[in-house]
Symmetry: none
Subunit: 441 residues, 2 copies
């Protein structure tokens, strides 16, 4: 089974948007065991979209068209598919009602254009998942092959909006492709999430095992530096059955974990945030954050995790030094220092009545601050017993009643520009808390 991707949109050709959808789909196809030999970008032009789809159908069994399903005149994928199928575009009443309902449910006026999205080529079906206002399409196509045989082909159309596209590809397109392909060989992959070593550092720790796997050919390991998401180690295993592939994966995961130790903080969709919140929840601890250079990014990342509210009370963004001194009770003096970070963590713990306070302060640039170079970042973690957080709203200067027994702190020099320094600060701070909660190293 071969499947090509056709990404539709003049903005992709003009480089106004980078086509990340094709990359993501390519990765999913590979993991599903489906070959993808060509991916094409084409502009918002009916003839050329049709030509790109026809070409793809001439050399593959399936095509995923991504984009061009919006409500405007520029959105031509529906029409192109009707042309390829040799049928008319027909309005679908049930879909019209659904879309009208979506808008009225949100209390928004529906522009008349949006009803264009309820049209489908005759004989095409809508994809079940529909996270936005653009329905996806499954278009069965029959062509005669070179030796006169019938070829049953299929074109899927999914929106260009990444989260809408992903839900449809995962929910419908991949399972449908695998069913059509009668795929039995199972490919499974698992990603170990790490933080604390560089890519070459990880490669050294794993060097012997990588050499062995290069000879075996299965499973395989791959590294992927992912910024604020840490450094990923991906294990991929292939076997006749899913169970066997899962066993290979589990064995390999155990080997890699034995070599990497506590550098591994999670698996697959775990994030440093979700793992840290889980550890806090298990221990019955609440959390407050004090952020300077990150400006709220630590809190924002924590709130990305559904259920964060059971643990995360909130935080203080003390971007100006005055707020650090007067709201968080940081003593006068340099604010880019481990001492200031410890005071911030203690202060926010009291102000917000949390058991655990974490804090980060530093120089994101572009200019140095207090004579400290860009990239200097100081952080602190203060962990009390459950319920030790003190009276909520009490003054941060009240420091007598609580011994605040565990204090972790760190000063680092982070590489990169403003954004990268702030992102690395977030994962490094949460990683510091995680290590202390997990029992240190």
């Amino acid at each position: 089974m071969r499947c090509e991707v056709v990404a539709v949109g003049t903005e992709l050709l003009l480089g106004q948007i980078t086509d990340t959808n094709s990359s993501w789909i390519g990765e999913q196809l590979a993991l599903a065991g489906i070959d993808s030999f060509f991916q094409t970008k084409v502009g918002d032009n009916l003839d050329r979209i049709v030509a790109a789809i026809e070409l793809a159908l001439s050399r593959s069994d399936a095509v995923i068209c991504c984009g061009g399903l919006g409500p405007t005149q520029d959105d031509l994928t529906r029409q192109a598919l009707a042309t390829v199928m040799g049928v008319d575009l027909v309005p679908d009443e049930a879909m019209e009602e659904h879309i009208i309902g979506l808008f009225s449910g949100r209390g928004r006026r529906m522009p008349a254009n949006n009803l264009r999205q309820a049209e489908r080529p005759e004989g095409a079906e809508f994809i079940e998942q529909m996270p936005g206002t653009a329905p996806g399409l499954i278009c069965p196509i029959r062509r005669t092959g070179g030796s006169g045989e019938d070829r049953d082909l299929v074109v899927y159309a999914v929106p260009g909006v990444p989260w809408e596209m992903r839900e449809m590809v995962t929910g419908t397109v991949l399972p449908d492709l695998q069913r059509r392909a009668g795929i039995t060989a199972a490919i499974r992959s698992r990603t170990l999430r790490t933080w604390g070593e560089s890519e070459s550092g990880l490669a050294e720790l794993l060097a012997d095992r990588i050499r062995e796997l290069d000879e075996l050919g299965n499973p395989t390991l791959a590294f992927l530096a992912s910024g604020i998401e840490g450094l990923k180690v991906r294990i991929t295993a292939k076997a006749p059955t899913g169970d066997e592939a899962d066993r290979l994966l589990a064995d390999e995961e155990a080997r890699v974990r034995a070599l990497l130790g506590s550098l591994v903080f999670g698996v697959d969709d775990d994030t440093m945030e979700s793992v840290t919140l889980g550890l806090l929840r298990d221990r019955g601890l609440t959390l407050a954050t004090a952020e300077s250079l990150t400006g709220g990014m630590v809190g924002s990342r924590l709130c990305d995790v559904p259920g964060a509210s059971g643990v995360f009370r909130g935080g203080v963004v003390s971007y100006s030094s005055e707020v650090k001194h007067q709201v968080l009770g940081v003593p006068e003096g340099p604010v880019v220092s481990v001492e200031a970070a410890v005071s911030m963590a203690r202060g926010v713990r009291r102000v917000l009545g949390a058991d655990v306070g974490i804090a980060v302060t530093g120089v994101a640039g572009p200019d140095e601050q207090e004579g400290r170079p860009v990239g200097t970042v100081c952080m602190a973690v203060v962990v009390g017993a459950p319920g030790s957080g003190g009276r909520l709203g009490s003054a941060p200067a009240d420091r007598t009643e609580d011994p605040e027994p565990v204090v972790g702190h760190l000063e680092v020099r982070l590489p990169g520009g403003r954004r990268q320094i702030r992102e690395f600060s977030v994962i490094t701070l949460l990683g510091l808390l995680r290590r202390h909660l997990a029992g240190g190293e």
Copy 2:
């Protein structure tokens, strides 16, 4: 003159690397006045690379091949080009010496493989720029067209390493293409940043003008929904000289602005954050944020703007209701309400001693809250006079001294998942502040 891009590399199809090179080249071609209607990704397979280049030559005058010029067995672009040209690959002695010199100059051992990079298809020339160890190629090709006429075509091969590719494209490929095309036309583009209407809503407001432009063909308008970055309207103009193109752009911008009014918040690299911070700075006002469902994302986005510290004092992330009530002085009662948002904005303004307080509270999901459905978001803006922010650190309950004259508030129902609701909340809240600062509508 039409030019296609063929990006070579199995890792691109597998999604291990996102193909940003094609996007960048596409943008450069557009700005150079050269049409690019298709871009293709193909894996490291000789037959398929040859097929992709042949197909591109059948519908365009020029092809830029990107990648596959390295020293390993996987690097097949040189061989593919020799096949397309119908010639042999020949070693180039001068290039061999040059590459050997590069390695010895850096005191590094040269792997024997690297001499493969000194081979070129007979009749091809090397590209003058050579920032790495992979030389680029210019391959002239003659084909017979459909009406029997000779077509003089060209394929350029450049490395996949972005900075090497860019130097060759800028230094040789684009000037050579423009010379071949006899191009004198200049293309300019400008992006208007908008917030407050959907894509189809904008299309309706601009419908008459879009129809006129469709007939004129120049300039053109394109919409681009960009999540937390708002909805972009891109104007592209073509003219014999840069000055004339700039004039067309300026005229069109004025027309579009007249139709969209205050929906337009900025141009090109402006963001809602940078624009809002600029308005505050101009008015000598300081800002504090109170965030619930966004968890710090408003603050984090504001701190992305260099120089934010002159305006942004900081914020309180009041994720738990207790923090809202006890730190920000929100009265007991529902916390997903406009009243709560107004109290939060007033509270944070006092607690942080800022002139302006903005606040957002709502339901990001996955579950409803206080009987309000997912997506319900309430926000408020309180703007005092410069210096009116009160004593920093004073209790939020102190509400007597300041009339807090301007209060804007809003309740909306936002679409999408947890992340999208939070992102739309951020830009909507900052947009509310912007409108009030800019004088309302």
